[in-house]
Every structure is written in structure tokens, then in C-alpha cells.
Point group: C2
Chain length 177, copies 2
DNA sequence: CGTGAAAGTTTGATTGT
DNA sequence: ACAATCAAACTTTCACG
């Protein structure tokens, strides 16, 4: 009896843009929570915490990496130790809804090191930007250069952050309902 | 002649809340840029890139850690591999300006794992929150639980993110003027 | 999944500039 | 004060049970 070749069927566009969700058990979620908080632990330590041998932990981490779930490992700096450092949130609306216009705007955000985050949103604003500078003066100068002097920015509003209450990239790992 | 005991004077409050800015040379900034982007490299690789021996690199990294500049090392996950994942930016204004009210609000944000970031801002809004959920439904449910049902939230506005154009915690390491 | 041996990495003492 | 070298300790890797 011929078997329907589900597994070997050519990749659909969706598989490339949005990878197939990986399935995770309780140990996977425990491990991922641990490394999201501190990626500096040894396989031995991690195995100890989740009740697995170092090589079983390694096999799982390798699986997360090859699936693309574990994208990278980064060092997080404390801005307070760098001296005056200010974070600002900026809401931006562009002029027209042309595709190439938005692409150009995105490329500028990607190229500017002081832009830490940029989200495309729906509603009366088009983008939310988080940028980091050495104080109010530089913050205003950067917003002016990026947004005021930009011909396609219709309007923007800068919300200077007094305080960073919670900052991270941790994703919640929901158990399947 | 008696020496003014500047170095041995007791720590001021400011020294505890805002640590003294660390001084960085070109190699420090190069190293920190490298580990902010990828903390998985070996001391040998890092040394190769900046032109130093592994142990010289290690001594510098240790210095960043003990000064608190290098706060931690984390694994970054790609939300697309987890299936439906949605990021929303929420602007929140609280009712009154009481200290304990704000503290309670902050503690809630710190306790909720789906709240990824929270900044205290100035202007017509008090806080900007970034939260991550499994879709529009959960996003609205979370905003409702955190903000609508909260007696002290005067008003809030949710900006659903269609696209995460740039996401990171990288700090710009400006050279001293 | 666990074990264990080989390869690679980090650590710290020592010496030199 | 800071860098390089080297050997010991630890960590990661991977073939096998």
C-alpha cells in the first residue's frame, strides 16, 4: 500500500517564512527558561537542575539551535555603569503607505546602533522605536535626525523613559492547553 | 602633610544606585561589541579578533563582570519557532501620583512573564509596556487583566505589533568625545 | 538516555615588558 | 599596570551501549 509522502513534500512558502512550531516537553521548557535567564551555565549544571545527563542536555540544546528556536547567545550590559544613559520610546507615523518608503525607513532603523528596538504596529502610528542615547540632548538630536529631518515621517512623538523597570527578551513558554 | 582621604571615604548613596562610570579603551569597546552580538565565542577567538591573548581577554571580561557592566549572558529565542506569537506595545496612565500605587503596578509588571519590558516615562502616559502573547485574543485578555481590571489605571492604549523589525538589548558604546 | 574518552576551553600562577 | 605563556581543571563533543 503506497504511503502518502507527507514528510517529503516540497516546502511551502509558509514553511520558509514561518518555521513549523517545534514541540516542547516540560524539560524543554524548564531548560529554555534556565538559559533564557542565564546562558553561562555548564551542561553539567543544567543537567543537574532538570534531572538529565550533560549529553542529554546538549542534544536538546543542539535541537533548539538547529530548529532556529535558540537564535543566539548574547552578553547584556548594564547601562548605568556606562555613565549617563537614556532610553526613549518614539511613536512614528509615515506619510504615505508605499512599500519602498517603509523599506527605506526600516533599513535606517536597522543601521542606527542607538536604535535598540523597532516594531511595526497597527493603528494611528506606524512604528514604535526604542532608542538609547547619552542623555536628553543626544536623544532629541537623534530623534530629530531620524524623524524630523526625514521627508516621509508625517509625525512623531518622543516619550523619554525615566526608569527601566523591566528590560529583557525573555519569551513566555506556555504549556500547550 | 595630611592627605584628604578621597579614596577611602564611605560610599555615598549615589555610588550604590548609580555605579561610577567605568573607563573603556578601544579594545574594550571592540570586545564588548563582539560579546553583545555573540557571547558564545571562545577567549581564543575573541583574542584573535581584538589582537590579544586569551588570558588578556579573560582579564578584561572579568573586569566588566566585577564592575557590573557585563550584567549577564542570556539565550535569545526566536518567537516564530514557537508558533503563533504576538508582541504588543501598551501605553498606560495611572490614576493618581501616589508612590505606593506605582510600586504595586511595577511589581505586577515584574511578576508577569508575558511582560517583556516596562519603562516609566514622562508626559501624558506613565508607562510603556511590551508584552508577548500567543495571539490577538490572549493579548487583549492580558491587557484587560493587567490594565482594564486594574483600579488604578486611568487609561491605556494597546498598539499591536505586526512586525518585529529590530529587537535587541545592544547598547551603543560611544567613544569619549 | 547515559557513559566515558578525546578535543577544546577556561583559569590562574608565573614571568616578562 | 598590563600582556603572554603554559599547565591544570573544567567543559563540550561524540561514538557507543
Amino acid at each position: 500500500m503506497p504511503v502518502t509522502p507527507i514528510e517529503s513534500s516540497p516546502a511551502k512558502t509558509q514553511d520558509i517564512c514561518v518555521p513549523r512550531p517545534i514541540s516542547l516537553d516540560d524539560i524543554d521548557r524548564h531548560l529554555l527558561d534556565l538559559v533564557q535567564d542565564d546562558a553561562g551555565r555548564s551542561l553539567y549544571e543544567l543537567g543537574d537542575e532538570v534531572g538529565l545527563s550533560p549529553s542529554a542536555v546538549q542534544r536538546r540544546l543542539t535541537r533548539y539551535r538547529t530548529s532556529g528556536l535558540l537564535a543566539r547567545q548574547i552578553a547584556v550590559l548594564d547601562p548605568r555603569v556606562l555613565g549617563e544613559t537614556m532610553t526613549s520610546v518614539v511613536l512614528v507615523a509615515l506619510d504615505r503607505e508605499s512599500e519602498s518608503l517603509h523599506t527605506a525607513f526600516r533599513d535606517e532603523m536597522l543601521a542606527e546602533p542607538r536604535v535598540q528596538q523597532c516594531y511595526g504596529i497597527v493603528g494611528q502610528w506606524d512604528y514604535v522605536i526604542v532608542h538609547v542615547t547619552a542623555g536628553l540632548r543626544e536623544s532629541r538630536a537623534l530623534s530629530q535626525r531620524l524623524f524630523l529631518d526625514h521627508p516621509n515621517v508625517r509625525r512623531y512623538e518622543t516619550l523619554p523613559a525615566l526608569e527601566s523597570i523591566k528590560v529583557g527578551l525573555t519569551l513566555p513558554l506556555r504549556a500547550p492547553d
